[in-house]
Structure formats: C-alpha cells, structure tokens
Symmetry: T
C-alpha cells in the first residue's frame, strides 16, 4: 500500500481568499484541501493536508513526512524566503517533493527572489493559483503509481 | 462600540528592564502594559496586550487582530528585521497600525536596518523608550474617536 | 475555432537527450514534440512546436504568436537568463503564457537565478523533465476550453 | 525660564499641501506652524519655526539651536538622505532632538532608506502626517517641564 | 499668452568655456543664453535663463517655475548626481520639463551614472554640447504652440 | 555627394504602436520611417532605415554603416542593455552617431540602467517619442551640411 | 552549589544520525545527551539538555538559562544563520556561553557564513562532530570549578 | 583519419585589422585563416574556419563541431562576456577545446571580466595577437597526433 | 608679486573647538586663521581664509581662487564626502591645491571613506589636528617661492 | 612510533601577552609552548612549536608538516584573512588539522570574517584564549592514539 | 648576446606532482625546469628558473629580472590573487612578460577570479598543464630571436 | 636621550626613481634617506631607515620599533592595501606613527582605496613626493622635542 501524500502549507495561507486577491485569487485553503482530498481518494491514496504559521512546526512536519509519507507537496509561503531550517529538513527527505506557489514570486519584491525551498526539491509549480496544487498532486500520484 | 486595540510585542520584550538598559531603559513590559491599560480605560476602549517569542504566534495574533481589533500597535523586536511572514500578515490588515521601537534602530547594527514591518504600517514611533507606546496609543485613540 | 498553441524552445534544446543528462534526462525534443502533438490532437487544437538557437528568431516567434496563437508555452533555455529582448516581446503578449524548464534552475549556477522570462509570464513549471511540457499544455488546454 | 524650541524644516516643505498629496496630505506648513505655536503658547515656551531649501542654512540653524534652544525638532526632508554636513551639526548638539517625517520613508525609494539624521537624534516620529509635529512637540515639552 | 520658459543651470556652468573643454567645448554660458533668447524671441515666448552654484537656490527656482513658467529646461550639472531635494522639487512640477547635458555622462565616472533628475523629467538631450539647449528649446516651443 | 544616413532599429520596434503604449506612444515604425525619409529628401540625403530582432544582424549593419554611411542613428531597444557585441561594433565607427530612445530608460527597471550603446556614441535623445528621430536626424543633417 | 549547565539544540538536530552523514556523522542526539550527562555526573553538575525546532522556544530557553543555569552550550543549527531574536537573547546572558557546531560551516554554502550566535558568545568549537560537545562541556566545567 | 579542427570566431572579428589596433593589431582574419590552414595542411588535418556576428549561429557551429570535429578553437569575442547559450553548448562538447583572445581581457573594462567560455574549456591563450591561434592550433595538433 | 593663498573651510568648522573634541581637538578656527596669517605674513604672501556652511558658496570660492589665488588649501569637512559640485570646481583649478583634514577619516564611518576632494588635489595632510594647516601652508609657500 | 605534532603560529603571535590584552589575554607564546610540550610529553608525542611573521615561511612549514608530522594545529593570525597561499598549502595536507584562534573573530572587524584557513581544516577552536591550544592538542592526541 | 629568460614560480609549486592532481597533473617542477632548460639550450638562451614561497622574494626576483633578463615568464600561483606588491613590480618591467597557469582559474573558486598579474603582463597561457611553460617559452624565444 | 625614529619602507620602494615616474617622481630612496638623516642629525635624533620587499619583515620591524623607537614613519607601499598582519603590528604600537605616501592613492585603482595602515596610525601625508618624508619627520621631531 502507498503511504499518504503530505501537503504542507506555511504562514498566512490559512487566510487565503481574504489575502491580497490580486496575487492569490479568492479560493480558500479549505477548498484547496477538498480538491486535493478528492484527487487522492480517486487514486486510493490518503492525503495529509496541514497549515501552520510556525516555522518550527513546518520543519517538524517535514521530518514527520520523512517517515510517514510517500511524497511531499509544500507551499512554504513566506518561510520559502527566510528559513534555512526548512532547507535543512527538506534536504534530509528521500521521498519525491514538489514546491507550489499560488503566484509567481518572480514578479514580486526582491527579497522574495531568495528561495531556500527550491534547491532542496526536485520540481516546482508556480503561478497557477489553486490549480497548482492539483497539477502537483496529479503528477506525483502518477509517479507513485508507476513506481508501485 | 469600538473594538479593542491590539498591542503586540515580539521576542525578548518579556525580559524588558533586564535587557541591555543602555538601549531600552529599565521599565518592564508589565509597567508598559499597565500604562496602556490606563490610557485605554480612560478612553473606554479595551486593550489586548500580548508578548511572544514565537514568530508564528505573532503572525497568528496579527491575523486575529484583523477580525477582532479596531487598530494595531506592534513592537516586533528582532522579528522586525527577519520576518517576511509578519510582513505578509500585516499587509492583509485593513485597520490602522503603528510600529513602535523603544530604541532608535538607526543607531545600531547594519542588519537592524532591514525592516519588514515598516513597509506594511502607516506610521512609527522610535526611540522614545516606554513613552513611545503611550504616544502611539494616544494618537490611535484620537483617530478612532474621530472616526466613530 | 481555437487558434493553435505555440510551444517555443530556445538554444541547445535541439540537442536534448545528448546534453548533460543529469540535468535534463534522455528524452529528445522530437519525442516531446510528438507527445505535445498527441495532446493537442485529442483536444482538437493544433500545436506549433519550434526550436531555434537565435535569440532574435525566438523574439520574432513570440511576436508571431501574439497574432496567430491562442496561448504560448516557452522554454527559453539559456536566453531565459540573458534576453531583455525576449522580456520585451513577452510583455506585449495578451494571450496566456507558461514558462517551462526541464530542470530546476534554483539548484544551478548563480547566473541562472537571473530570469527575464518569469516576470512576463503568468505561471511556470520547473524540474519535471519532459513531463513539464505535458503539464503546461494540459493546463492551458483546460483554460482555453473553459473560455470558449 | 525655558529657552525656545527650534522646529526646522528642509527643502520643498514650503510647498506642503501642493506636493504629492498621497505622501504628505493637504495641510500647509503655515498651518503646522500655527498648531505648533499654539502648543508652545499653552506651555509657555516660545517656538522658533523655520524652513529653508539650502542645506548650509539648515546646518547653520542647527548650530544656532545649539546655543539658543532647549530642544530641536527637525524634518530635514530630502537632506535627510544626502547631508553628512547635517549629521555633523546634529552630533554636536547637546539638547534633546527629535526627527519628524510626514510620510513613512520605508515605503518609498531605496535611496530614501539612507538616513543621516536618525543616527544623531534620540527619537523619531514617522508617517503621522502633520500630527507628527504635535506628537513630537508634546513629548518634548513634557520632558522639558519635568527637567525644570 | 504663453508663460515664460525657465532654463535653469547648476553648479560650475558659469565657468563654461573655461572648464575641461574636452567634455564641454568652448562656448560660454552667456552665448548659450543669447542663443536661447533669440529662439524665444522669434517664437514670441520670453525666456528666464539663470545659473547658480547653490543646490537650494536651484530647488527654489524649480518651485518658482511651477507657478511662473510654461515649461522647464534644466542642466543640473553636478547636482544631477547628488540632489534628492532637486528630485523632490521636479516631481511636484506639472509643466513639461527636459533635461540637458552638454556631454554624455555615460562616458564618465561611475558616480555620474546616478541621476536624480532623469526619473522626474519626461525627456532628455545629452552630448550635443551647446546645441542641446537649442534642440530642447525648439522641441518645447513646438509643443507649447500646438497646445495653445 | 553625402553618403546616406543609417537609421537602425533593434528588437520589437517592428511592433511599435502595438507595444506598451504608455512607454512608446501609438506611432508605428513605418510612420517614423516616412517622417525620416521626408527630412532626408528635403536635405538631399538618402536614408537607410532598417529594423531587426537579431543582435548579430544589428552588429553587421553597424559594420556596414562604417563604410557606407555618413552618419548613424541607432535605437538598439533591448540590445542597448545586453549587447557587448554592439558596443564593440560602435566603437569601430568613425562617423558621427546618435542614440535615440522613445521613452526615458531612467524611469524604468534597474537592468535598463545598464547601457552598452551610450559609451560608444557621442550624443543621445531620450523620451521624446517618435519626435526624437526627427530631432536626431535634423541635428545630424545640419552637422553634415556644415562639414561639406 | 553550582547551577545546572544548559545545552540547547536547534532545528533538525533531533534527526541527527539520519541526516546528511557526510557533514554530521552517525551519532544520534540521544547518544550525545548521554555522554554529556555522564560528564556532568562525574563533575557533580546537572545537565539540562534540550532540543527544539521552534526559534521562539530556543529564545525562551536561553532566557530561562539566564536565571537557572551556570553556563550555556548552544548548537543553534540553522537558526545560527537567520535568528536575530536568538542574538538578542544571548546578548542578555551574563553566564559563560559556548557555541558548538558538528561540522565546519566555513566549508558550506555562503548563507551559512552569516552567524548571529558567534558575536554573542565568548568561544566556539566547530567541526569535531559529537566530540565537540564533550570538549565544550569539559572546558566549561573546568572554568566553573575554578570559579567556585 | 582525424576529423577536422573547428576554429570559430565571434562578432566583429570579420573587421579585424580595421578595429581598435591598439588592442588587436593589424592582421586580418583572412590572414589568420591562411596561417591556420597552412598549419593544418602540414599536419594533414583539415581546418574549418568560420566567423559570424550571430550568437545563435555560433552556438549551432559548436553543436556541429560536437559531431564533426576532433577539436575546437574558439574566439567568441564579445559573446565571451554575455552568452550563457554558448556556455551551454560548450559544456556538451566532449572533444578538446581551447579559448583564444587576441588581447588580454584583464586589462580592459569590468564587464569583460565576466567570461562564459572559460569555465567550459580546458585551456586558453590570451594576449598574443594573431600568434595565439597558431599556438593553440599547434598544441591541439600535437595532442591529436599523440592520441591517434 | 605672488597672488594670495586661499584657505577654504567647509561646514561646521566654524564650531571648531566645541565639536567632538576627541576627533578635532580644542583649537578654534580663529586660532588656526591667526596661525596661518602669521605664516603668510612672514613669507610676504597674503592669506584669504574663509569658512561657509553652504556647498554652493564653497564651490564659488574655489572658482574665485582659480583667478585670484596662487594656491589653494581646502578642508571641505562633510562636503568632502558628498559634493560632486566641489570635485568639478577643483578639477578646473590650475593652481596647486592641498587637502587638509584635522582627523584621520580612515578611522571613522564608512560613508567618510567616499572622498570627492582627493581625486582632484595633488596632495593631502590628515590627522595632525590644527598643525596640519601649518604643514600644508609651509609646504605650499616653499613651492611658490621656488617657482617665483 | 607516532610522528610529531606541528603547532604553527602566524604573525605578531610572538608579541602575545603584550598585544591588545582585551582580545588575547596576558599569557605569552612561550607559556603556551610549554603547556603544549607538557601535554605532548605525557602522551609520548613530540611537539614542533614554531612562530613566524613571514607568510611564505608559514607555507613552507605546512608543506614540511605534510611529510614530517602526524597532525597540524595552526593559528595563522592575520594570514588567516589574507593568504590564499596558505589555503593552497593546507589543502595538500592529508593529516588531521585544527584551526585555533585565541579570540572569537566573529566579534571583530568585517575583514576578519574572510577566512582562508577554515575551508581547508576539519575543525576549529575559537575564543578560549591560551586554553584553546590545549583543547585542540588533547583532541588530536586522542585521535592519533585511537588510530595507532 | 641575449640576456637570460627568467621563469619565476610562486608558492606551493615546489610541491607540484604531489598537490591536487585533478587541477595540476603529476609532472614535478623539476621536470618542467628540465624541459625549459632544454628549450633554452637549443635556442642558445640561458634560463633562470626559480621557485619561492615568499611573496617578497618573488617581488625581488621580478625587480632583478628588470635588469638581468630579456624576458619574464611567471606563474605566481596563489600570489596571483592577493599580491598588489607583485603588480607594482611587474608594472615597472619593460621586458616582455607572460603569465602561465597550469590549470584554468576560471573553473575554480571566486577569489581566484581576482588577478593582480594579468593587468601587468601582455599575454597568458592557462590550463595546458606543464605544456604551458613550453608554449610560453617557445613564443618568447621566437619574439626575442626576431628582435635580435 | 630620545630613542631613534624608525622610517620603514615597503615593497618596490628600493626601485624608486626608476618606477613609474608619473606617480612617484625621480628621487631615489637613497636620496630620501640622506635627507631624513640630515634632519635627524640637526635635531640630535638618530634615524633608522630601512626597506624590505617582505611583508613579514616589515611586521618584525614594526614590532622592533615598539621597543627601540620613539616614533615611527611608515610607507608600506603595496602592503598598505593587503596586509592585515601589518595592521595588527601597528595597533600594538604605543609610540606616535605617521603614514607617508609619495602619490595620492585616491587618484589610482579601486583596490588601492583599501588601506590597512591608516586606521592604525594617527596621521598621514599623501602626494607630496619625497618632500612628504621631510614633512612627517619635521612634525614628529617637533612633537618629540616638546614632550622631552
């Protein structure tokens, strides 16, 4: 049996739909979670979908995924740009991982060009809004199915 | 009725009065809290005064203020200089917000010249020590009174 | 009827499959083209798939897409990092556009962190190898179908 | 008897009310002067309120304040960001001094992040518009009263 | 009737013809003034042509032009590279303005690549020597005639 | 007899009138060509007016002008900011040359502050829109007439 | 009686032994704790040995050590490179403190050259692997014994 | 039989002998070609000697050399300093390659210190003028002879 | 007869003796002037000794010296570090010039390492306090005597 | 038998005890040598302890250690921050090596943050004063004993 | 008669053949010396071939060559990247000089991109291993023969 | 009796008079030594005047001066810009010290703007050529006489 897929979300994503809609659209994180769960269900893989504002908790969940998950999707939000601790945790992972961003960070402030997540993951999906989660999840399910 | 004013304090401010007195003076955070409560009371506005060492908890409180407060005063201490997550949370706020610093960061180390709070707040009070909280609070109460 | 989708490829991609396999895998550009054509065919949308080593020709094709295409997928390869001319051409486009990279540029040299394509496109797919084209194309076909 | 308080204003502030209202509001410098004079009068302290476009004249007035004033409030406007001469003059002052800015420079161009006034003053009030003068003056009057 | 055109000149331009001829040629500022006056006269528009070594006086004249002039031509010389005060004054102008430089600053020292005038004017004429004033003035007269 | 004047245009200028009108206006390159031809005709000097998206072709034309032209006007567009090859070609020219830009690059992105054309030409006309070509051409014709 | 020695460990150190063995070796944090406890026991000094992934919790423990400990050993891991809050907490300490790193950060990425712990501690032991804890502890015990 | 040696030349080298003689001397590219052909002939190895102003064509020729040549000598001229596409093409080569520059770039402008060719070739010959081609060719012929 | 020697002093030097004695000592500018006049008198050369806080006035005096003086000694104080206008004026001088600083700027803030005076003068005397004026003046008198 | 341990000391360490005691304490280098010799003697390993002010001699001794020593302890003092030659010599060593600094360089000037020794040694001991030599020597003796 | 050719070698080159063979190969410096002597002998020119680890001795030998040699070949090794003293010595030479490096510094660390030798020599040979000395020597002998 | 004055000279100054006369003039170091000896003799103070090309020897002499000299004059030449070891030695000196440079480094290359001598000496004399030694020596003799 395939272990669950972890989908981890960083700070302020719990406010999605309320927050700066010109960058992130009006979909809420709950709606994204539902969409991911449906995709997982139809593939017979369970989804662990969490959000936290705490950098250290995000680090702990990545560590947890190392043992408990078959793959990781991460939208680290602001911690993408400041967390070396997250980079260290991701570099210990041996399961496939994908970075998702709702908007395209390249079109934003200079300090968002610093990225501690990208060097530690194999691939990324940027700027598709909520659809990006589906794209990443579909791709990772396909990979897992092929490997099992 | 006017919603409470949130006054949020970042890391190490719980040690105020013990910490590097040449920068911050000998007043404790408890004394500042009392002074703010008195000002609030005489204006008939309740004050929510909190401190945390956790970046993510500070972010959560700013989100909470977004719904529950009429205005925000924030002394983010060290997170002022490192927290993009805090910037993101503050940029979602639609209530008036003021930044307070006990000392004048301009007279300190280069890395304290980076400031992720300032670009997201409308105004700031620096270098007045504990008095700065009173100045910010007095100003914000006046604004709120005028608008109601 | 829906206009064709342009898929444009920059310098050295004609050597795909021979070139530094640790970054790009062993799939050839011809195989990617076939896969894209199949996806297009089954959606009833024709695909214009081209490659060039000339910066100026890439610019001309983006201009051409402006009139002739319903959407653009671009893997500008090395010109991603050096071509302001390409940025200018992409900023004139009013059709949806997606950036694709076979590898994750974040894990490579510093000069590949400069990106003149990202700021001008809405979204991007990085590090999925040849699959990235399919993901981008699938997403764009869905968008076009919904809009027509 | 308490010596007067100097309130010095730098270049272009004579055009206040006409100039880029989104940053500075519509109050004129004359109105600010009146408000300051009223505050001074009710405290029994005379106010010397001046404006100049000349860097060297601003320097001379700071020197003059060194002998003639009990405290200094300064809004150096553009010279804040370019005048080492002003820094030198302020560093010679032994009376209390406060920096005022109508807007929050942190939200503006990079060259406005350079500040030669802040390192030489004890405290600052930013982004409160014309009210900032009142806040600084009220605070300084209180300090002077306590010391006399 | 059309208000006068202001032509303002910064530091050391009073020494034109004596100063580093390889950059600026041997024409004097008086000769340039005469040439401008002739052009103005034949167009029926009066010219106000001034020079100063004082940054603050240049700022005051730009402010004055705001009310008294129909257009502004400015050669700020060295203040081009150091004066934020001048930038602030120019950004308040609502009349057309042109920057003139006798030489081409791009061929000179690195510190002359900083330019606080360019971002605040609509257009510029560089490296034509004394002829540049005529070109700017001719262009601005044509614009003013069309608009009246 | 006077050799022709070369007027060379870089990438994306063939799309003029369609492209980001807030920077460049709505005049097309064809209209500019016509205007230049008229000016040339009335002066009895033929005009060679070309555009290309290819950096190398622009280089070749500058080389060609070296033998075939009496003067050069160049709007290198995006290659202004990236082409050392163009700089090398221009530095070999011994005929008078003028740089034209429709908009004022100083008001745009940081990477447009890098300029490889300016150091190799004697003069420049920026931010006059299509009129800039006329100004440059008028000036160069006058110079050529005087020299012949 | 001598107060306990605090030994604090930052993010991801709970995964020691699993994580990138080429940098950190295969010893686990539990084994290090045991070794430290033995050293403490034989010296008659109790050891408080803790690990956290939360920056704020690390800050709180440093504050706690300020009152409760006779000395501090800290391996802040990734927070070494990003936490100004930790620097502030350490600068308040008046007890001896030593920084430990398992590997030598000088041989790693550029962002690991930034260090907010070093300026606030008196001494450091780098690159000895798990032995480094013993070296630091032995040294600090000797110092404490001499002082008591 | 030994495959031909490719000798590729970048932009403006077709003007050699006319261009800035203080850097490059008065030998023409045709004369260099003849000298190389003679060296090749006497060694029984054919020489493919080409020049282009087009970055993309240079890239294509390097790709072509990958299959058709036994070794590569490249003087990329200005593209040395700007072409990531060229770097990518050279990194795919598995045959020996040498970089030649007529002058010593170290004695020229700062932007010529950036070099995208050097990291991808094994060796280089700088500042010997036209002789440098002979030195590189002689060396490479000797290597090829030894290996065959 | 030998023309006078100009000794020009920049901003805040009028406060000498009161200002930051650890850098500048307790001698006043009047005392320095007297000392210089005595040296001049005994050499039969008149001294023009002036001070101003205005950058533009300093520029004008340098221009004046160009015609009226046989040599120039300048202590530009803070304008040393910010005034391109002063650099331009000094570069027009054809008489000998010496830079004097009371303290050694190398031991002070980073922004005092920028120096627009040094590149335009032949020699300098730093860190001798008031004696530095005498040293510079003695040296220049000797030079003038030898040349006359 | 175990080869000797080399302990090499760089410039100015011969003055230890006289030099800036706030950074280095009052122990002399002779006393450190004695302490090291005692440790060596009791372990039955001879110590070669030397000091030089010459960068090249330090390089030669490191080379010598390569053949003659079983391990190296180095306090390169100022050459730590400037000597690439030392880095090259250390990178050739195949015996264990430890860097010692009496003070903690992190608390000193920016140019002392550059370190050419650290990347070439496995471990380091900073800021323990003279004790640091003992700690390094004790650790290296233990390692050598275990390996023999 | 032709004066000898000096071939000077910097720090650590005495260890050639033992040191990091992936960069420098296994040839020893003695073998290179022999090869150079043979080339010299057959040309009837004596060779002075020396190596030192001391920067100052290298400087002295370059000075010596100024009088005693007809030409200079220098491989300054690590001092290439740090020695301004060497640059000064080389800039005084009036005889032809060539820089040799065994490996290609462009493929190594960032601090090896700084080069104080290149700007002072006319030409260079990089990355040919020991053969590079022969190439440089052959070329310089040819030049000397032609000139005599 | 007053101890001797040390006058120390760095690399390449032994070649003075031969070396780049446009920067340093044609006086030799021997002539400067004679002039200094005469000044010393007439003051009854002996002069120790030395030159070396070795950084470490210069360091040793500064140490020696610490015990044996009453004052130090140093022209460190190129080591001014690279020697932290020299800075460390100078910072240990407790006798008066003056820096001399024959030319004005401010008018030369960027790497000569780095200065490790200035921060450790009290005063400096730049750009007076050989006369600068006399000026420094005269000044220091006067100081010593006054103190004895």
């Amino acid at each position: 049996m395939i272990k669950p897929i972890y989908i981890l979300n960083g700070p302020n994503l719990n406010r999605l739909g309320k927050r700066e809609p010109k960058f992130y659209g009006s979909t809420t994180l709950g709606e994204i979670k539902n969409s991911c769960n449906e995709l997982g269900q139809s593939a017979g893989i369970s989804i662990v979908f969490k959000q936290t504002n705490l950098e250290g908790e995000l680090v702990s969940w990545v560590q947890e995924a190392s043992d408990a998950a078959s793959a990781l999707i991460i939208n680290a939000a602001a911690y993408t740009h400041t967390s070396v601790a997250l980079l260290d945790a991701l570099q210990m992972l041996e399961i496939p991982s994908i970075e998702v961003h709702l908007s395209n960070p390249a079109a934003r402030e200079a300090f968002r060009q610093v990225n501690y997540v990208s060097p530690a993951v194999k691939s990324g999906v940027f700027g598709f809004g909520a659809i990006g989660y589906d794209m990443a999840l579909t791709s990772i399910i396909k990979t897992l199915k092929q490997a099992n």
